[in-house]
């Protein structure tokens, strides 16, 4: 019983917050909803027996990425996006809405009916397949190359960010 309640709490939080991100005209409020959405998804990871992923989710998203979003939004002081926070074009607007509607229908129809072709077990909630130790062992053997490439990417990213912030030679010339 408890797991059902917990699932609905976190699913509700993440979906409501995701809707808040998309539909609230004030970007600051959007960022706050994004935090809630991340925490909700992290809770869902916990219920899926992957607490480490959930903690990484909080540590990276809520603790780092959204702090950066908040910095940007707060310093720009983007109080609101005006009356209409959405882009609008005569044709494109409806085309987009249609596209989103189609995708929604597709996903719902696919999900509400049966998922065939896979053999889903209903796993033992205490099964340790997501234990960090197993995860790390696979990550540092099978995914070793990917891991090093990630290191390279994380080397390039800050160099790019710093280079972008340079204004005509000097790093912080204003």
């Amino acid at each position: 019983m408890a797991d059902i309640v917990v699932f609905y709490i976190f699913a509700g939080i993440s979906l409501a917050a995701a809707a808040g991100v998309v539909f609230h005209p004030n970007p600051v409020v959007s960022v706050l909803h994004l935090v809630a959405a991340m925490v909700g998804v992290s809770g869902l990871f916990f219920t899926l027996g992957a607490p480490f992923i959930g903690m990484v989710q909080i540590l990276v998203y809520a603790g780092a990425v959204i702090i950066l979003f908040l910095f940007v939004v707060m310093i720009f002081d983007l109080k609101t996006d005006g009356k209409n926070p959405f882009t609008y074009g005569l044709v494109t607007h409806y085309a987009k809405l249609l596209f989103i509607g189609c995708l929604t229908g597709l996903l719902l129809s696919k999900l509400l009916f049966k998922l065939d072709g896979f053999e889903f077990q209903s796993p033992d909630p205490l099964a340790p397949q997501y234990e960090v130790r197993n995860l790390a062992k696979v990550m540092f053997t099978d995914y070793m190359f990917m891991f090093e490439v990630l290191g390279l990417l994380l080397l390039v990213i800050p160099i790019g960010a710093v280079a972008l912030s340079r204004v005509r030679g000097g790093t912080h010339a204003e």
Binding site: A11, A18, Q57, A64, L107, Q129, L150, L153
Partner: protein, 105 residues
């Protein structure tokens, strides 16, 4: 706890799918570039959720590992994207996505 109320894979996939669609709607409809970046994060989260769900129900550890990599890359993407936004805002005082169509050379 095998009642009719148990949580199954479709529940998680529904959350994931709904979140993905919401993120997509944000990317397509919103004007503010920062909100668009946030919506991209939402979509990536939805994908992560699907990965972990499938990994859990297929008893496979790869889903979690891919999720770790996606989280890392999504964070890096957000960092670079926001660096670009900050520089454009510093120069043009503008965050409307429509404005970016006119940026040339």
């Amino acid at each position: 706890m095998q009642s009719s109320l148990s949580i199954e894979i479709t529940h998680y996939l529904f959350v994931s799918g709904a979140m993905f669609v919401l993120g997509l709607a944000g990317v397509l409809l919103r004007k503010n570039i920062i909100v668009i970046l946030m919506s991209v994060e939402l979509m990536l989260n939805a994908v992560n959720l699907a990965f972990v769900t499938f990994g859990y129900y297929l008893q496979d550890v790869n889903g979690a590992i891919i999720t770790l990599f996606v989280i890392a890359i999504a964070a890096a993407e957000a960092a670079v994207g926001l660096a670009l936004v900050v520089m454009i805002y510093k120069n043009y005082k503008e965050t409307n996505i429509r404005f970016f169509e006119h940026l040339k050379g």
